[in-house]
Symmetry: C2
Subunit: 108 residues, 2 copies
DNA sequence: CGTGTAAGGAATTCTGACACG
DNA sequence: CGTGTAAGGAATTCTGACACG
């Protein structure tokens, strides 16, 4: 059940490259961060670093923005999405718990 | 049969990040390029960009170097490795050709 | 051979701010 | 609200070279 630190999630891409990849300006990318749509890591010095997932997320955001969707709406949709996923995760955990309770389990 | 441009192959990582990821100095990384062990792409301006595969390759190189293996030996091993892979590819293609010849195929 | 370093320049990134609408 | 821009500074990256061993 290891969460392999997959290539898709590793935050290694600088903002300039993200800009090339997405077609967004750096200004836009930083603004979407300000609006809590995207969460880059920081290098020791403070440079933003993004993952491929972030890049895809940004492309989604760009599409939504083109349709005129405002950043706070996009944010709300993202939160709803996340809630659904979390709920799914919880159900999964509960299942596991029930099964373990019923049949007994040595080590977690 | 699309060669999906996978995350692992995309050249998007700058040399500074590669240096953090591998523990090698930028000097070393550039030198290994000079010795034809690694082939970054270049951004429009000329900055090197590496893939996750390149990073793994560099880690392999670093291990070999620690064992005292010289760069030209590493290079030769890499070339041999590549030849084997190419040969495998050719055999595969020939198989395909034979099958197609035997059973007929409309469009390639 | 493999790596360190100082050198100088050009591009990158950062933040906070003003602008427009 | 979302984005552009000029501002100033600090870190990044590049190349070619000298050094050592």
């Amino acid at each position: 059940m290891e969460q392999e630190s997959s290539y898709k999630e590793r935050k290694v891409i600088t903002i300039g490259v993200v800009s090339e990849l997405t077609g967004l300006t750096e200004r836009q990318i930083r603004y979407y961060e300000e609006r809590k749509l995207i969460f880059p890591e920081r290098s020791p010095r403070g440079n933003r670093k993004y993952s491929f997932m972030d890049v895809e997320q940004l492309i989604d955001i760009a599409n939504k923005r083109e349709e005129g969707v405002q950043t706070f709406e996009i944010r709300q949709d993202m939160l709803k999405q996340k809630q659904k996923e979390d709920a799914r995760k919880v159900r999964k955990e509960m299942m596991r718990g029930q099964i373990n309770a019923r049949f007994g389990v040595q080590k977690e």
